[in-house]
Symmetry: C2
Subunit: 281 residues, 2 copies
Amino acid sequence: MIIKDIKTLREIIKGEKRRGSSIGFVPTMGYLHEGHLSLIREAKKENDFVVLSIFVNPIQFGPNEDLEQYPRDIKRDTELAKAAGCDLIFNPEVDEVFPKPLKTKVIVEELTEPLCGRSRPTHFQGVTTIVSKLFNMVAADRAYFGQKDAQQAAVIIKMAEDLNFDIAITVCPIVREEDGLAMSSRNVMLNKEERKQALALYGSLELAEDMIVKEGILDPQTIIAKMEDFISDYRLCQIDYIEILDFENLQEIKEIQGKILIALAVKLGPTRLIDNKIMGV
Amino acid sequence: MIIKDIKTLREIIKGEKRRGSSIGFVPTMGYLHEGHLSLIREAKKENDFVVLSIFVNPIQFGPNEDLEQYPRDIKRDTELAKAAGCDLIFNPEVDEVFPKPLKTKVIVEELTEPLCGRSRPTHFQGVTTIVSKLFNMVAADRAYFGQKDAQQAAVIIKMAEDLNFDIAITVCPIVREEDGLAMSSRNVMLNKEERKQALALYGSLELAEDMIVKEGILDPQTIIAKMEDFISDYRLCQIDYIEILDFENLQEIKEIQGKILIALAVKLGPTRLIDNKIMGV
């Protein structure tokens, strides 16, 4: 069932709640891959009724980013979502979501500054604002996000806590292609050679893990330098950032200990990919 | 019934909703007066179960404002609220509302710039952030605000619309003392002479209305100048602002027409009072 308007969405969800159904919510920008489907399956395990939103949110794209090029295929998405256990797809037009000029922003400070916040300065306020709107539209009991966007997950957990959204947030593991590339809707934008070289992301994360676990190296800068070295062999890869942070507050650390996030962003031609590893040391 | 914690509040409200009750919500900072009570009565008319929050919200006070001096009397408030039809008072401690450092802000742009926004630059983001939190805690069907804080009402209506809060917002008329002074919790901070001179606010609004309605004067600056003249006779009154704006967008206007807001703020000693008139011309 594909719903395009907020009023009908609310009526259906209120009906489900009256019947005692719990509501699981998976917000996406569509062009579904196994990562998204794993979120839908997890939502279906824990809830009676699963809502998937598909909305390519303009306010989380910067002026020179790939809003227009972002891949879309609602027909294929519908089939995949249904097979994974989705009960309702909410797929509104931009005018339904933003009927008047938007003057309200939801801003999370500090957590949004490192990593993707540096090269995409207005990205996260676009994410937190649309997620607030969607949370209020869907009124779910539980929402599901992928660890691939680890910073996004941390930001949304903090936002939901700070604003007292009555919703439990689950972060599900990264789903990878057989060769290790993290699933992403943007992978389809890579040409054949870029696709090969995209392995630099996962390869460098594996290298970092080995350095920490097998060699006992605990200096973040040493590890980052080795990761940069590793990626420099992939000539199409241009590093946007590599950072090692404590996972909860996304602050820089001087020594690796506790729960850490190793995260990187790499550009391959016009396509920007991200990947990460969360480790307890 | 006074509830201090969010968990119990939610359980009670969910129980009421399961029984089919509609929920009305009146957010206040307490020290209730007839203005607040009119909101509770209106809420009780339109809803089965009325929640009043009493919380002196620190994040809407600036560093040199009257947070510590803000009057409090929970015992008296409880009796008045009950008599007016309130079913539940939510009166949390600061630690319950802000258990960890707050990193999330809800910001409404443009509407928050004129009027009180000029002299209280962080006031409205404190209001919109706490109201977002309270809306998420209470999950009411309808919320009630007083027109005395006309800019606050306009800002909250815009915020609720922009963020798709599933709540209807009603703005209730200003309640006045017999001599015309708008009811305010801060009136109690006035000494006897200040209390007399506080009539300058309502007097100047009456004068403005007469100029528009009886004399047909449509130039905002002429009216504002006359209001300033009028208030200058009250030597304890120090004008913070007098503005005439279109009501919906709170933008300055060159000529009086349509629905307008005449609003002013005046300081009497340490106490800052506001008042306004909304007119359709």
